[in-house]
């Protein structure tokens, strides 16, 4: 790296400040989640540093959230079952489509692509009634397939758009040499393009994962509201009561539901970034 020691220190300082601003609100919630309900609303979370003994520490919020009665364990499994395919399927479908739009010639290419970008702005709520009607006609309601296809449908526009922009910017000569060697589109795509696109696939996977993981409306519409099929967001929102009487449980709940996304994020990002550095 270029630059004097002073400018390097300045950069480190700038990064530290930004990271602090980004992290402090979450840190505040983390501390709050270990405090009693009554002190949450009467003293700032930072007061625990001045007076750690009188901070009203408790693990009761976590205990309540993780209590068997809340069904959080079932909700975890439900959320995983919904989320994994609801991430993998749209990526697969979108990657094929992205390759098709980027590197294949066919009539209607521009129009179809324009429609896909336009669909980015469509709020999914307008689709709930028509899709539910379709599911009822097919007796598909209440199945995981219904959920995956719905999340695929709602996430596909963004996936296709993001992956297309990435795949279309891969160097043309890589593909040319593959075709000269006699490779078909399918082998070029699976052997060459997919591995090269891992960073883009991983980025989209993260977004789709978080969106599906945190979704409530789609799950409650197509899977139902019963406890056995509740996803983690439903389980948490049920916990806090009709008028949010127990809103303080959300402090702990937010971190409980975050554990998995974070665990998935760290290795995923390392791999993606690693590949980039190599490439």
């Amino acid at each position: 790296m270029k630059g004097s020691l002073a400018s390097r220190l300045l950069i480190i300082l700038a990064v530290l400040i930004l990271v602090a601003i980004w992290t402090i609100p979450t840190l505040g919630l983390l501390i709050t989640s270990f405090r009693e309900r009554d002190v949450m609303t009467t003293s700032g979370w930072w007061s625990v540093f001045a007076d750690p003994a009188g901070a009203g520490w408790t693990t009761a919020n976590y205990a309540t959230v993780l209590n068997e009665q809340t069904g959080i364990a079932i909700a975890f499994i439900n959320s995983l079952t919904v989320t994994i395919p609801a991430v993998v399927i749209p990526i697969l479908v979108a990657a094929f489509a992205a390759y098709g739009f980027a590197w294949m010639r066919f009539s209607g290419r521009k129009v179809l692509f324009a429609i896909i970008i336009m669909l980015l702005v469509v709020p999914i709520q307008i689709a709930l009634i028509p899709v539910l009607k379709g599911y009822l006609a097919l007796d598909l309601n209440g199945t995981y397939l219904a959920m995956w296809l719905a999340h695929t449908g709602f996430g596909l526009a963004l996936a296709t758009y993001l992956l297309h922009n990435y795949i279309s910017e891969l160097p043309r000569d890589i593909l040319e040499s593959a075709f000269i060697d006699g490779a078909s589109h399918f082998t070029t795509f699976t052997r060459l393009i997919l591995p090269l696109s891992v960073p883009a696939l991983a980025s989209f996977a993260i977004f789709q994962f978080l969106w599906v993981w945190n979704d409530l409306l789609v799950a409650q519409t197509f899977l139902g509201t019963q406890k056995e099929v509740a996803v983690i967001t439903s389980a948490l929102l049920n916990l806090i009561g009709t008028r949010a009487e127990a809103w303080h449980l959300l402090t702990a709940g937010a971190f409980v539901s975050m554990v998995l996304p974070l665990a998935g994020r760290a290795p995923g990002s390392g791999e993606a970034e690693g590949r980039f550095i190599e490439g």
Binding site: K2, G3, I12, V15, L18, W22, P25, T26, L29, M40, T41, T42, G44, W45, W46, S47, N78, P85, V93, F96, A97, M104, R105, F106, K110, L112, I115, I117, M118, L119, V121, P123, Q125, I126, P130, L140, Y144, L145, T152, F154, L156, A157, Y161, L162, N165, E169, S184, H185, A200, I206, L237, T251, G253, A254, M258, R265, S269, E273, F276, I277
Partner: protein, 373 residues
């Protein structure tokens, strides 16, 4: 093999070929997903009704679903590759884009068209009322406020997220704790919206003067000797406090994509520019920015569309009170609180039209690219 061979005309009369390829295209993009769907469907009906332990059902379902979809592409490709060459060339693209197009049409385009119809009907979707809903939408006193705020969200939210994301992508590269810094900036993306709402309550909370502040900003103001403020009630400026939440959540997204793009800028290019004596700023302007231009546009488009749709932050924090209304909150109130589907639909269509410039800009780039046959 490379696509430049439009001269390779089929030998058959054009219309026969056209019909055959059309049928095959339709088959590839419609029947193949349908057959796969039928298979998957039967499997899931079985899974739904079975009494096996839930984790096992879940495991089988995941393998069945993901494997089934992957298999679908392999089979479709295998079939199409056995077609005569000129058919294959025409049909194969639809094996690739067909399923995506069919799914998007079913889940989003058809509902959008239905919404367009609804927007010309009354609240209960019974009678056609012409442009009445659109007239209501544009003459509604809240609409001007909503449009102004959406412009703020679009400019400040997109600009803030993308520039801070770019800044972090550049700076994080030069510090010893790059991974940790990036993870922490990205962290807000992993927080559910429900959690984020609570987090920001503890930032913006207000307590009357004389009481201990529990909101971070008012505590800081207090330390500086400034009286506590009802932050979310400060007309006009409160919009920026809401936009800050979006920037907080989306900077990580911009950073990840832009950081990946930055690492892809060829080192030789940078070296060459530096040897030519260009300053770091010039290198950035003339080499780095053009190389990551595509990624900047991608990120900006995604976040811009997000800001146009922005809804949940506003609803949870202020419900559009105190001058913070946006188009999507108006739309959601009409459709899902007042159950006036007509007015809600008209507002949804207005949002769709508002995004046209973004689409147009993206398509301009799209046209420059040439495909292979």
């Amino acid at each position: 093999m490379v696509a430049n061979s439009d001269a390779r005309e089929p030998h058959r009369p054009a219309f026969v070929s056209l019909i055959v390829t059309s049928v095959a295209r339709t088959a590839a993009s419609v029947f193949v997903p349908l057959i796969a769907f039928a298979g998957l469907w039967q499997g899931f009906l079985f899974l739904r009704d079975t009494d096996a332990p839930r984790p096992i059902v879940a495991g089988i379902a995941i393998v069945w679903g993901v494997g089934g979809v992957a298999l679908l592409y392999v089979v479709a490709n295998w079939v199409v590759e056995r077609f005569p060459r000129q058919w294959r060339d025409r049909v194969l693209p639809f094996v690739f884009v067909g399923p995506a197009v069919v799914i998007l049409f079913a889940y989003l385009l058809i509902p959008t068209i239905l919404t367009l119809v609804l927007s010309f009907q009354d609240g209960a979707s019974k009678n056609f009322v012409g442009a009445e809903n659109y007239i209501f939408a544009v003459t509604n006193p809240s609409m001007i406020e909503a449009i102004r705020n959406n412009v703020l969200w679009l400019a400040v939210g997109t600009g803030g997220s993308v520039s801070l994301g770019l800044l972090m992508a550049i700076l994080a590269d030069r510090v010893p704790f790059e991974r940790l810094a990036k993870v922490l900036i990205f962290l807000p993306m992993a927080i559910s919206f429900v959690g984020a709402g609570v987090i920001w309550r503890f930032v913006y909370a207000y307590r009357p003067a004389g009481e201990e502040q529990i909101g971070l900003i008012n505590a800081i103001l207090g330390a500086l000797g400034i009286a506590p403020q009802g932050l979310l009630q400060l007309q006009f400026w409160n919009n920026f406090l809401l936009i800050a939440i979006l920037i907080w959540a989306q900077t990580g997204f911009a950073m990840v994509i832009l950081s990946a793009a930055l690492k892809g800028v060829p080192a030789e290019l940078l070296e060459a520019a530096r040897i030519d004596g260009a300053s770091e700023v010039k290198v950035f302007q003339k080499v780095v920015i053009p190389s990551i231009r595509g990624s900047i546009i991608t990120v900006s488009t995604t976040i811009a569309i997000l800001t146009l749709k922005i809804y949940d932050i506003v609803t949870t924090m202020t419900n559009g009170n105190f001058g913070t209304e946006v188009i999507a909150t108006l739309q959601f109130k009409q459709s899902f609180t007042f159950f006036d589907y007509g007015k809600g639909a008209a507002l949804a269509i207005i949002l769709l039209v508002a995004v046209m410039p973004v689409i147009w800009y993206n398509l301009r780039r799209f046209r420059g690219q040439e495909g292979f046959r």
